[in-house]
């Protein structure tokens, strides 16, 4: 396989949520999402109920992918920050540790400068957590611990999904 499987464990999930909740408060943001580059939502904090998080995750990843394509065309590795300004709400999108996307939605109670500043600090913490997560998944794979939940599924389990 070209890419290792993305796995999330309880411990790191809590750490991640702690960091983005802190960012939510410090940046005076409305909502914060973490999305993987393939468009899958990792976590979200704040007023998440107001948004269609699945669609948001998929479109953000599409946006990052398209901008990444543009970057390569002009000889850049990637554009690590995108900012979209709306009438009320703004979107600050940044790439964390080269592998996940941090989305901050904020309004006029905050400012771009504040968000950028806080995002920078949170990104460093998140990068550390994701590095540990990748190492942990690799170690587990190497040690061959058969904890994978799907190792023992049967054909019946699969068929039942479609019944």
């Amino acid at each position: 396989m070209a890419y290792p499987q993305m796995v999330m464990y309880d411990e790191e999930f809590k750490q991640i949520n702690f960091v983005i909740e802190k960012l939510l408060r410090e940046a005076n943001a409305k909502v914060i999402f973490l999305v993987d580059k393939n468009g899958q939502l990792i976590s979200g904090v704040g007023e998440t109920d107001r948004f269609d998080t699945t669609s948001l995750a998929s479109l953000t990843a599409g946006n990052i992918a398209a901008t990444g394509g543009l970057a390569k065309l002009i000889g850049e590795k990637e554009f690590s920050i995108l900012f979209h300004e709306g009438e009320k709400d703004n979107l600050h999108i940044s790439i964390v540790g080269g592998r996940v996307i941090l989305v901050v939605i904020f309004d006029n109670r905050s400012s771009l400068g504040l968000v950028r500043l806080r995002v920078k600090k949170a990104s460093e913490e998140l990068t550390g957590i994701f590095d540990r997560l990748v190492r942990k998944a690799e170690e587990k794979e190497r040690s061959g611990v058969p904890e994978f939940p799907f190792a023992e599924i049967t054909d019946d389990d699969i068929d039942n999904l479609f019944s």
Partner: protein, 195 residues
């Protein structure tokens, strides 16, 4: 690349519908959307031109149910089929877990099918994937139209490796769920092996 979340007990997989322009990829997703219970689906997103041709992708999230206590979610994507959108197609293949190749059964579209299939193989390779090792199914669409090629002929050209293949008419829904089920099953079997 599926995403296994032990914290929320979810597993997410990405399925991409590939094929030449106007072969019915978006129609496949629209039918799945129409026929799926509201609680099992999210919003369908289509990034299309004013003439309803896919510009970037269509996206449909489906929650199929649970396996061994894990919520199983499939994210269905289509690529833009028109030849000149190749850069976008490459992006959408990133992180793919399973591929559906939708072929247009009409005789005059045979060259377009072959070109698109070669393009799929090439673009996957560029991302480090091998089509022969991915969960992969083929759908012969538009079987209801006059002037379609016999399935045997299509199979010979488009499915030399003998992956699961299905006849379909996406507009009426015939074969749509059979195709989706087949690729989803292959993905889950692949996950079972733990790769």
């Amino acid at each position: 690349m599926s995403f296994i979340n032990y914290a929320s007990r979810e597993i997410n997989c990405k399925i991409v519908y590939y094929g030449p322009g106007l072969c019915g990829k978006t129609t496949n997703l629209q039918y799945v959307y129409q026929k799926t219970a509201p609680e099992a689906k999210g919003k369908m997103i289509s990034l299309a031109t004013e003439t309803e041709r896919t510009l970037f992708f269509d996206f449909l999230p489906l929650a199929l149910g649970e396996i061994r206590g894990f919520k199983t979610r499939f994210h269905l994507y289509t690529v833009p089929g028109q030849v000149f959108y190749d850069a976008s197609r490459k992006l959408i293949l990133k992180g793919v877990d399973g591929v559906v190749f939708v072929a247009d059964s009409q005789e005059e579209r045979m060259d377009a099918n072959i070109e698109s299939l070669e393009n799929l193989r090439f673009n996957l390779k560029e991302q480090g994937y091998d089509l022969d090792r991915l969960p992969y199914v083929v759908q012969y669409n538009k079987r209801d139209l006059p002037g379609v090629l016999p399935v045997e002929e299509l199979r010979q050209e488009l499915n030399p490796t003998g992956v699961p293949d299905f006849e379909a008419c996406a507009a009426t829904g015939e074969g749509v769920f059979e195709t989706l089920k087949a690729v989803a099953k292959l993905i889950l079997i692949d996950l079972k092996k733990g790769r």
